[in-house]
């Protein structure tokens, strides 16, 4: 069953629940900010609604170094590279033990499911639940980004193997739940967690007025483009509570467009500062350069922001426009960097970072490289972001036919787990434009961007563009070789009229 915008369907009188953040299957996972904040907000909301017994089994809970365990699961052959697939977090066997040892039989099991391409582990967790409670299986509710972006898929597949009807919660349960504080007591009151979290994720606002082609926030917010913010006082209260009660010193804002409501955000910072807490604040999902100004950055710095992640993505305004991001211009980025420097963020310090996106359909690889070099020269730290087609986004819809068409050599079709950006879902698509392109080239491209970050000596990385003789000679050596090379193939638009199946089945190659 899919529950949408109907809190009364969610609450059916249960008084106890186990909340599960499943392990994940992926080739890479960065666990530094991995708290299941949606589930932790639900916990607070459930308590408010009379739930007396709650237990959290966070399979991705981190150790003291904020890392999760990983065990080898499989090898995925993708074109000319083999990617190792890992299970990150608690094993399903251990989860089963933890469920069995829980001192109460829950009335409900709440499961969060984040990335659409992680859906399989959510299904496997449901299998475990069924194994532990074969009779009178507690009611299972699955919420999070995946069930919201593809509720039909979740409804069709998650309980299928276990033979259970599950409840797919599509979107926010209600404002009250979405605005709730996260409940960290679930970690502190449970021996399961040797390391208690010393950080917290805060969602101060939801929604964004824009509809960038690669982003699914609009679908996530049920097509509501309005930015809805919690009050600055309430956010500051939550921070202060976590600071005092749990000793949390690091906070990360996870929001669709952090800076969008300028006055609101400034007020939030002022309110936090009023509390006089010594904290560090991060916005790891990045901020929009267009919205940056000196007052903003001065205030952010004064409140505890240590790192800035700027969404650069491309230096080509035409390409940005093609992604429905006409608001994101290179001029705005340039200005944001200058402002950031003025506000005290140092280039090359890794406190100032720029996201560069690649792996998109129809991308211009030369522009991606240009962007990476520009970002390296401009801010010193490049964060490569491999593109994942997210259900609900414009790009996903545009390429759905390609993504789910039969594939060579056996005509099998992909499912959501195959659309993980790290598995390069648009490789074959882009091979139409770049016939030489192999999966290893994407690895090389990513590796190139990472290398640009790794030349720091005495707080400064190597600047290939500087007037310094060392840079000049390096450029000359590269240019000498480039002189004898033909220019890279010009950008050719893919003929989108070509049947997708002919791309995937290798017809016409």
């Amino acid at each position: 069953m899919i529950i949408r915008d109907n809190p009364s369907q969610v609450l059916n009188g249960a008084k106890s629940a186990i909340l599960i953040n499943p392990p994940i299957y992926d080739t890479q996972y960065w666990a530094y900010w991995s708290q299941p904040h949606g589930l932790l907000k639900v916990a607070t909301w459930l308590r408010k609604n009379g739930y007396e017994q709650l237990r959290l089994i966070d399979c991705l809970a981190t150790d003291s170094k904020r890392r999760v365990r990983q065990r080898h699961r499989d090898v995925v052959q993708r074109d000319d590279i083999a990617k190792q697939l890992w299970t990150f977090g608690m094993s399903l066997d251990e989860l089963e033990i933890r469920l069995r040892e829980t001192s109460f039989v829950p009335g409900e099991i709440w499961i969060t499911s984040i990335m659409t391409y992680w859906w399989e582990s959510t299904r496997d967790v449901i299998d475990v639940v069924k194994r532990v409670y074969p009779q009178n299986t507690p009611r299972i509710l699955v919420g999070g980004i995946y069930p919201t972006l593809d509720p039909e898929h979740a409804n069709r597949h998650l309980g299928e193997r276990a033979g259970i009807d599950i409840n797919v919660v599509d979107g926010e349960i209600c404002d009250d739940a979405a605005n709730a504080r996260t409940d960290l007591s679930l970690y502190y009151n449970d021996d399961l967690y040797e390391t208690k979290p010393r950080y917290a994720l805060i969602t101060g606002s939801r929604g964004c007025r824009f509809n960038c082609a690669y982003c699914a926030q609009l679908k996530l917010n049920h097509e509501n483009p309005k930015v809805r913010s919690r009050s600055p006082q309430e956010i500051a209260d939550e921070i202060e509570e976590k600071y005092k009660k749990y000793g949390v010193r690091e906070f990360a804002f996870y929001e669709d467009n952090l800076l969008f409501n300028r006055d609101d955000f400034l007020e939030r910072l002022a309110e936090i500062r009023k509390r006089g807490l010594k904290i560090s604040i991060y916005a790891p999902e990045g901020i929009e350069p267009r919205l940056v100004d000196l007052e903003f950055l001065n205030e952010m710095r004064a409140t505890g922001f240590r790192k800035l992640h700027l969404a650069l993505e491309t230096i080509d305004n035409e390409i940005a426009r093609g992604w429905n991001r006409k608001q994101a211009t290179i001029e705005a980025f340039e200005r944001a960097v200058e402002v950031a420097k003025k506000a005290g963020w140092a280039v090359g310090s890794q406190d100032l970072n720029a996201f560069v996106i690649f792996g998109l359909p129809d991308e211009d690889l030369q522009v991606t490289i240009n962007t990476a070099l520009y970002a390296s020269q401009k801010v010193g730290s490049v964060i490569p972001m491999l593109f994942t087609p997210v259900p609900g986004s414009i790009l996903f819809r545009q390429h759905e036919d390609y993504l789910f068409s039969p594939r060579a050599p056996d005509g099998e079709r992909w499912d959501l787990q195959d659309l993980n950006g790290k598995l390069l879902p648009f490789l074959e698509y882009n091979q139409q434009k770049y016939p030489w392109l192999r999966a290893s080239d994407y690895l090389r491209l990513e590796s190139f961007m990472m290398h640009l970050n790794n030349s720091k000596v005495r707080t400064r990385p190597f600047n290939f563009a500087s007037a310094h003789p060392v840079s000049r000679v390096f450029r000359n050596v590269l240019s000498d070789v480039a002189k004898n090379e033909s220019a890279p193939s010009p950008s050719v638009r893919i003929d989108l009229k070509q049947p997708t199946s002919s791309i995937l089945m290798g017809v016409g190659k």
């Binding site: 100004d293 000196l294 007052e295 230096i315 305004n317 211009t329 290179i330 001029e331 705005a332 340039e334 200005r335 200058e338 402002v339 003025k342 690889l365 030369q366 490289i369 240009n370 070099l373 520009y374 020269q377 392109l437 080239d441 690895l443 090389r444 491209l445 990513e446 590796s447 190139f448 990472m450 290398h451 790794n454 030349s455 720091k456 000596v457 005495r458 400064r460 990385p461 190597f462 600047n463 290939f464 563009a465 500087s466 310094h468 003789p469 060392v470 840079s471 000679v473 390096f474 450029r475 000359n476 050596v477 590269l478 240019s479 070789v481 480039a482 002189k483 090379e485 220019a487 890279p488």
Partner: protein, 443 residues
């Protein structure tokens, strides 16, 4: 006079000898995991053989973990740079504790042998001598090692009351080192290849160390194979024949010119896992250096040795900062070597008192030994360059040598991504086409 006295006259059978390799003051400790005071350990072997009571303080041997500990000492000014100088190795408190342990055992040394392996490390040796003299006022202190041999007058002046004596070092030079002197077994052992020892003797030494639990080895000679490649091959043959399960590393002393197909196969089979190639370039300011030996050597290592390209398996050491260096040539050489070899490490040229090149260019050096540290690039000014230039070169080397997923990026590679990178840099297509310059928002 003392120097000529025999060992037996210096020490009676009951004598107790403390061997000390002091901590180090430096801005960086290269090869930090691979330090071992070989000469001192050989002296230890000889003394043990002769029945002396011997103890060892190797202050660069980690007391716990794998890393050499360090603590900020002070800073060094070079041009307008303030460089942190570190105390590497045991702290003075830790050395005091070790001395206390000896005293509790009622073990007092009659003689303390101190080694100093680099001339520019003399200050920590001086401080060490002060400490041991205070704690063991009756012990005779004898200084050996590179500093004592190359700068005896400086040592006499700065470390008063210390005797300089290389006699025992010379006598011990064919000894196998004795690692049983360590309280905590080192993870590796340095071994000497070319010291008039047969392959059998060398391999026996390795076997004895395997019995102590050591599995990693490196030949510490200035150059391997050296003048007698057959000897090196003989050692490798014997290691292979005996099926010794060891890891060998060439720590910057293997010349690419020395590599042959036969040698590469044997090195791999004997256990060579990591190779740092020696920089063979003649110190010719105008020479960009012929890189054909590297091309041939790398081809052999990849084809016949099974070493992985662009990983930590093979690294070229690149000499920088020597007198009359043409920095442009060095940059070019570094970039091209990174392409051929995969990994590159800079080796700052170290002016060594007593050598021809030192004498020729001494007038361009600061008189203080500690300022002649190659890492401070003392010939920068003479070369028309600055310390900052060498910092920039170090940054470039870091870029070329940086590993992601264990491999380096090949800026001169034949692949399309590398070509696009070159195209972007050559044609400056990375510079965005800005429509207008917006004023800074300062509201």
């Amino acid at each position: 006079m003392m120097k000529r006295k025999s060992l037996k006259k210096q020490h009676t059978q009951q004598q107790r000898i403390l061997l000390v390799s002091p901590p180090v003051y430096d801005i960086r400790l290269d090869w930090a995991r691979w330090h071992q005071p070989l000469g001192l350990l050989q002296v230890g072997s000889l003394l043990l053989e002769r029945g002396y009571g011997v103890r060892l303080f190797d202050c660069l041997q980690p007391l716990q973990g794998k890393r050499v500990q360090r603590k900020k000492l002070d800073s060094v000014s070079v041009e307008n740079h303030e460089l942190a100088r570190w105390h590497f190795g045991w702290s003075w408190e830790q050395i005091e504790d070790k001395i206390e342990d000896l005293k509790e055992e009622k073990w007092k040394p009659d003689v303390i042998y101190v080694t100093c392996m680099m001339t520019f490390w003399w200050e920590s040796t001086r401080d060490l001598v002060r400490l041991v003299r205070k704690r063991f006022p009756k012990a005779r202190i004898i200084l050996g090692g590179v500093y004592a041999s190359l700068c005896p007058n400086h040592a006499r002046q700065q470390l008063r009351g210390v005797r300089l004596d290389s006699t025992i070092g010379k006598k011990a030079k064919t000894e196998a080192t004795d690692l049983s002197l360590y309280e905590r077994m080192p993870h590796f052992s340095g071994v000497l290849l070319n010291r008039s020892r047969s392959a059998n003797q060398i391999v026996k030494e390795i076997e004895a160390k395997i019995a102590l639990g050591v599995r990693e080895f490196a030949f510490f000679d200035d150059e391997i194979p050296g003048k007698n490649p057959k000897h090196f091959e003989g050692v490798l043959d014997l290691i292979i024949q005996k099926g010794l399960d060891i890891k060998l590393r060439a720590l910057g002393n293997l010349s690419p010119k020395a590599l042959t197909q036969n040698l590469v196969i044997k090195m791999r089979e004997a256990g060579y896992r990591q190779i740092f190639l020696h920089d063979d370039r003649a110190l010719d300011p105008d020479a960009k250096g012929d890189l054909s030996a590297y091309e041939r050597g790398i081809e052999l290592l990849l084809t016949h040795g099974g070493y992985k390209p662009r990983t930590e398996d093979i690294t070229a050491m690149v000499l920088v900062g020597y007198p009359s260096e043409n920095l442009d040539h060095t940059v070019e050489r570094l970039t091209r070597l990174a392409h051929i070899v995969g990994s590159v490490n800079l080796v700052p040229f170290q002016p060594t008192p007593g050598t021809d090149i030192y004498q020729r260019y001494e007038k361009h050096l600061p008189p203080e030994l500690e300022k002649q540290n190659g890492k401070l690039f003392p010939f920068a000014k003479f070369n028309g360059a600055s310390f900052s230039d060498y910092q920039e070169l170090t940054r470039l080397a870091a870029l070329l040598n940086s590993k992601y997923r264990s491999t380096t990026f090949d800026f001169l590679g034949d692949d399309q991504i590398a070509q696009m990178v070159r195209y972007s840099i050559a044609n400056e297509t990375w510079k965005p086409k800005l429509r207008v310059t917006l004023p800074l928002a300062t509201r």
